[in-house]
């Protein structure tokens, strides 16, 4: 393998581009890490422990009676991220994804109850 072959190999690849959500995070005025960790922890909790997993902002917001729970949940998450259109768009996407995960878990696993881990 000569230098030309190495360069050709390099050019067959390129560094990955930024995730779509990074723009919203960049423009969020709140502290950098905690909203991201909060949302990531919420997603991991729901995915790993099933629909009964509770301590996320989205779950607490979704329990509150009122108009469309998804709208309430997205609003709560957007507020945690500092508000604004970008945060609201991102939060709406995340809530929809979490709902999808919950529905997937509900369809794939027995109903929660009792001594869940």
């Amino acid at each position: 393998m000569d230098d030309f072959a190495v360069e050709q190999l390099l050019r067959r690849h390129r560094p990955v581009g930024p995730p779509a959500a990074l723009r919203a995070l960049v423009l969020s005025p709140s502290r950098r890490l905690w909203p991201w960790l909060t949302a990531a922890a919420a997603l991991m909790t729901i995915a790993a422990a099933g629909p009964w997993a509770a301590s996320s902002l989205v779950e607490r917001a979704a329990v509150t009676p009122g108009p469309d729970p998804a709208v309430e949940a997205a609003g709560a998450l957007a507020d945690a991220l500092g508000g604004g259109e970008a945060a609201r768009t991102w939060a709406t996407t995340q809530v929809a994804f979490e709902r999808f995960l919950r529905e997937t878990e509900a369809g794939a696993a027995p109903a929660p109850g009792g001594d869940q881990p």
């Binding site: 190999l9 690849h13 390129r14 560094p15 990955v16 581009g17 930024p18 990074l22 423009l27 950098r32």
Partner: protein, 161 residues
């Protein structure tokens, strides 16, 4: 407590991110050999501008320098045994072999960051060696040496025979 960003500041930072964000992210990705860490670096630079929007006479130069400094700081703080979070290369053309990408990532990760930086700027951003020297405050001879050593190192890593 950080300054609350103004709407003008947010609009400026949004414009800068839209203009330079992707290329800066790719630059950070190669410097750090880690896509997740690159997110942090880029986020840190732009968030700092939200808190205190600087006057930018040379936007691209300023942002590149800021991302570079942030990446080098992160590398100094990074634990040697910390594994990267996820892949940092993607195919640039069709029919690229997955194993080839993994091997190239491993080989790039084994380079010193200064050599990796020169590879990125020359191969992926098309910088001349003189432009790289200007961007990294080094001499053109140093840049040329780093590139030569980088290719040699990659060659041996990818084809030990």
């Amino acid at each position: 407590m950080p300054d609350r960003p103004t709407e003008d500041g947010r609009a400026l930072v949004g414009r800068l991110y839209d203009t330079y964000g992707a290329s800066l992210y790719r630059y950070a990705t190669l410097l750090l050999a880690d896509a997740a860490a690159a997110e942090d670096a880029v986020h840190q630079v732009f968030t700092a501008m939200l808190r205190r929007t600087p006057r930018l006479d040379q936007e691209a130069h300023y942002l590149r320098r800021a991302v570079r400094n942030e990446c080098y700081s992160m590398l100094r703080r990074r634990r040697a045994d910390m594994p990267p979070a996820r892949a940092f290369l993607e195919p640039a053309e069709a029919n690229v072999n997955h194993d080839e990408r993994l091997a190239l990532e491993r080989a790039l990760r084994s380079l010193p960051v200064e050599q990796r930086e020169v590879v990125h700027l020359h191969v992926y951003e098309g910088f001349t060696f003189q432009a790289i020297a200007d961007a990294t405050d080094t001499s053109i001879n140093t840049v040329a040496s780093r590139y030569r050593y980088a290719l040699e190192h990659l060659r041996h890593a990818l084809d030990p025979s």
